[in-house]
């Protein structure tokens, strides 16, 4: 029980650390939910290139994981989450958000329906407190098992072929957001066709005791298909290209906000499709109905910014030079060949065709300069290859 030993160490190492630390030739690390995590291993750009052109492995272990089971697991989750959980059948995964009573997003995450009535909820932030508060009146058990499950993301066009070579036969038929189980080293390997890159990719879930063996088998199987480890920086570029948001970056988790106007509703994060008003009684329902009636305050948009200077934290102006929004994430996208950004705009701004300007500050040889760059609202992801959804998955 690693978490009971928490006082012995300031930072945990994941079960893959013996391998990741060897491969991290840059020796660049940061702290992610009390685990040490690689920023980059050998070259951020090449790690990114592996995601889009071969495959890359990301150590996902620090992702917060909760196991939710019991006879009331479904009604419990349907009260917690804004979408209809009954539609997520066993063996399927659903992307979801959950809100407080005011309809403000606490976090987003993926819900894995492992077996009938047995779920895993993965999230960026720790949710045990909110889940425990929500449990009253339901027959359900909730355990945070972050430390008991080791996880890797294997992302990129050759990922399917690597898994096949590793012995996951039939993996190519696994549809996006589906789960499969394979025998592995005397235990079980769970594979889900999920990820944070918007590409063909999988996430692998294993008992920490078998973690190193998984890593070795994976890298051996992937050697001829360009497998590389990737750090957080390469992943960050890919997730912005995919248009995915991140808690604490693109929105403030509602339970961490002190100022009322700092939080966002699902509609304000362009996640209205995850809100199902046809089911009754979920957290935030009344407030979200009211929001739909009165209109939202903000809108999340994807922007194509003129030029090549990433618009990090830039203000967005209208033509008359009023601040009408803020960039929350920005990168140069190598795949879209575009200067891309996610931004939170005040309503009604951010409609396709609106004239928007980003105020970008950048530094050249210690000298700060400023440029006003024209922005165009983009609908959908910046990079969305057909291979992401193709089933059976292509054999690159």
């Amino acid at each position: 029980m690693r978490h009971k030993e928490h006082h012995r160490t300031a930072v945990y190492q994941t079960p893959f650390h013996p391998r990741t630390s060897q491969l991290n030739t840059l020796n660049e690390w940061h702290r992610w939910k009390d685990y040490t995590t690689a920023d980059a291993y050998f070259d951020q750009a090449l790690e990114y290139a592996a995601i889009r052109n071969a495959c890359a492995v990301f150590d996902l272990t620090p992702m917060t994981k909760h196991r939710i089971a019991g006879s009331d697991a479904l009604p419990f989750l349907n009260r917690l989450i804004t979408r209809d959980v009954a539609k997520i059948k066993p063996g399927r995964v659903g992307y979801c958000v959950w809100c407080d009573d005011n309809g403000q997003v606490i976090d987003d995450g993926t819900l894995f329906h492992l077996r009938e009535g047995d779920y895993r909820l993965c999230s960026q932030e720790r949710q045990l407190d909110w889940l425990s508060r929500s449990v009253h009146g339901f027959d359900v058990s909730i355990v945070e098992d972050t430390h008991e499950v080791a996880a890797l993301a294997l992302q990129g066009p050759t990922s399917c072929a690597v898994l096949k070579a590793m012995g996951c036969s039939g993996i190519e038929r696994l549809a996006p957001f589906s789960i499969a189980w394979f025998p592995f080293a005397g235990g079980e390997l769970m594979v889900s066709r999920t990820g944070y890159t918007g590409d063909l990719g999988y996430e692998l879930w294993i008992d920490p005791a078998r973690a190193l063996e998984l890593w070795d088998v994976l890298f051996e199987a992937g050697a001829s298909r360009g497998i590389r480890p990737m750090g957080t920086r390469a992943l960050e570029v890919a997730r912005i290209e995919a248009g995915f948001i991140q808690a604490g970056v693109d929105f403030l988790p509602a339970d961490q906000a002190i100022r009322l106007d700092r939080t966002r509703s699902p509609f304000e994060l362009d996640l209205g499709r995850l809100v199902d008003f046809s089911k009754s009684g979920f957290n935030g329902r009344r407030a979200l109905l009211e929001e739909r009636r009165r209109g939202s305050r903000y809108r999340l948009v994807r922007l194509d910014v003129e030029g090549n200077k990433p618009a990090r934290s830039a203000y967005i102006y209208d033509r008359r030079r009023h601040v009408i929004g803020t960039v929350t994430s920005a990168e140069w996208s190598p795949s879209a060949k575009a200067n891309i950004a996610l931004a939170s705009m005040q309503m009604p701004w951010g409609r396709p065709g609106d004239e928007l300007w980003a105020e970008i500050y950048y530094q050249r040889e210690l000298k700060w300069s400023r440029v006003m760059a024209r922005c165009r609202v983009v609908e959908g992801a910046f990079f969305d290859p057909p291979r992401r959804r193709a089933t059976p998955a292509a054999d690159y």
Partner: protein
């Protein structure tokens, strides 16, 4: 679904009955369901020994709203007063006593300074209590958001405080959140006077004189008196006659009453209520369900947490509603004689709280889960004024006994027996020989009150009266305007503003909320 007009009221406590009467008068089809075999809730009169009847929970009528009594014509429905404006007799045990009529000393000796201070203190507290009294018949404003009525409501509260004038306003704001101990210590010298006045502040609460907020509870108690009601009065036939009169008024207006019909749950259709299901399994449809049960029983047991949002359930689960008061009933074969107290005063409101330290010490034990070894008492012998309660020549004694915590360790049969012996011991010190006159006795601990009156925690206010559970925070934010988050469900009991005490205001306010159709957006 029915025709949009049907209302079911869960619980025939006095507030439920008031609500029923107002809704029936407005043309709603009202059915009141009561679990017990009679209406009244905690305002009932029942036999506890052959021939002896007593107000089984609330036993003095302080706060019944006069406008409700008038509008429902309770007098014509049989409500009579056996005795109005009871005086307070503070017993010292030594034979000394003080007889107080509001701010006036009627008998006993006090230094001149205390005598003058008493008049001034009482008048000031009444002025402050009037500020609270003015809020009784208003819907508390919603915090953060809401519309014009909420802003106006908040402004009116502010205006009522401001209207006290500069000096009084400052004093009101100074004392409203602090404790009665400090206020009494800075005002009076005589321990017996301070003890008696402090008991009024902590009666029925989970507070000792030194607990913060114990001035607010005093003001709440006085808020009925400030409206020009009868002061502390005894209705003829006990408190049950108040409920019976309201029930008669409700019945005359067309409301139907069913006793022995415990509700098992409130049913939903989608996200609005559809009626109730009785413990018998019978289902009754309604478009509106108004619950006179306490907030946590209504929301967590009858409705179910799963139909409410997480944050709201969290707040409801943390309503503080643990009772601290026990109720003693004695059947006596003669009027007890209190040491050197003239017999004609035995029918007044007798209090045993000889000084502030006595009360505080009594609370100390209760804090740690034990009944007080030397409890404080508020005693009435209503049979002095009302011969309907006991056989001729015999009497009933009814007393609130503090403190008895709502704690499993203090609610066993053994603990009850010991607490009864202790309480009789305290009485015996004031009225030597009283034990010999006891024909029968009954002691209700908070767990007994919870069981008999179906009040979670056995707290007669359905939730502690405290600043954090007061006005727009009562019972919790998001539920303080009588309408619950589930459409068609309302609360009308003491757990809502303006709280406990047989007042009726919560019932009438809830009826108005129902008639307005819930909250404006």
């Amino acid at each position: 679904m029915t025709d949009g007009n049907r209302v079911i009221i869960v619980g025939a406590g006095h507030n439920g009955l008031v609500c029923a009467a107002y809704l029936a008068r407005a043309g709603r089809v009202v059915l009141v369901l009561e679990a017990a075999d009679r209406v009244g809730g905690a305002a009932i009169t029942r036999e506890f020994a052959p021939g002896f009847r007593v107000s089984a929970c609330a036993h003095v009528c302080y706060q019944l709203d006069r406008s409700i009594a008038r509008e429902l014509a309770l007098a014509s429905h049989g409500l009579k007063t056996a005795r109005a404006k009871l005086r307070t007799v503070a017993l010292a045990g030594t034979g000394d006593h003080l007889v107080l009529d509001g701010g006036r000393l009627e008998a006993g000796t006090l230094p001149d300074r205390d005598r003058a201070a008493l008049a001034e203190h009482h008048a000031r507290m009444l002025r402050f209590a009037r500020v609270l009294g003015r809020q009784h018949n208003r819907r508390p404003p919603r915090i953060g958001g809401g519309g014009r009525p909420d802003l106006v409501g908040a402004a009116m509260l502010g205006f009522d405080i401001r209207r006290l004038g500069r000096g009084d306003m400052r004093e009101f704001l100074r004392v409203a959140g602090i404790n009665i101990f400090d206020v009494l210590e800075e005002t009076f010298d005589t321990p017996l006077l301070k003890g008696a006045l402090a008991l009024d502040a902590v009666l029925g609460t989970n507070l000792a004189p030194r607990s913060n907020n114990s001035v607010l509870t005093l003001l709440h108690r006085m808020s009925g008196e400030s409206q020009g009601a009868n002061g502390a009065s005894l209705p003829r036939g006990g408190m049950g006659s108040v409920s019976d009169a309201i029930a008669a008024a409700a019945g005359a207006a067309g409301a139907k009453l069913r006793t022995r019909s415990p509700v098992a749950r409130i049913t939903l259709e989608g996200d609005r209520v559809s009626g109730v299901e009785l413990e018998s399994g019978e289902r009754l449809a309604a478009d509106t369900v108004v619950s006179n049960a306490d907030p946590s029983r209504t929301l967590l047991q009858l409705l179910g947490a799963r139909h409410l949002e997480t944050g709201f359930v969290h707040r409801v689960r943390h309503i503080r509603s643990k009772g601290m008061a026990a109720k003693l009933h004695l059947a006596l074969d003669a009027l007890p004689g209190f040491t050197r107290l003239p017999a004609e005063l035995a029918g007044e409101r007798l209090v045993i709280a000889p000084d502030l330290g006595y009360l505080e010490h009594a609370f100390d034990h209760a804090k740690y889960g034990q009944c007080s070894p030397d409890p404080a008492l508020e005693i009435t012998i209503p049979s002095v004024h009302d011969r309907t309660l006991a056989p001729a020549g015999q009497h009933v004694l009814s007393a609130v006994v503090q403190y008895a915590p709502f704690d499993p360790r203090a609610n066993t049969d053994a603990a009850r027996g010991e607490f009864l012996a202790r309480t009789l011991g305290v009485l015996e010190r004031q009225a030597p020989g009283l034990r010999r006159h006891v024909i029968a006795s009954e002691l209700l601990l908070p767990a007994d009150i919870e069981r008999e009156f179906r009040i979670t925690g056995g707290h007669w206010h359905h939730g502690e009266l405290a600043l954090d559970q007061f006005l727009m925070l009562r019972p919790v934010p998001g539920a303080a305007q009588y309408a619950m988050p589930v459409r068609g469900l309302y609360l009308c009991g003491a757990g809502c503003h303006p709280g406990g005490g047989v007042m009726g205001s919560a019932g009438r306010n809830a009826a108005q909320a129902v008639l307005r159709g819930g909250l404006p957006a």
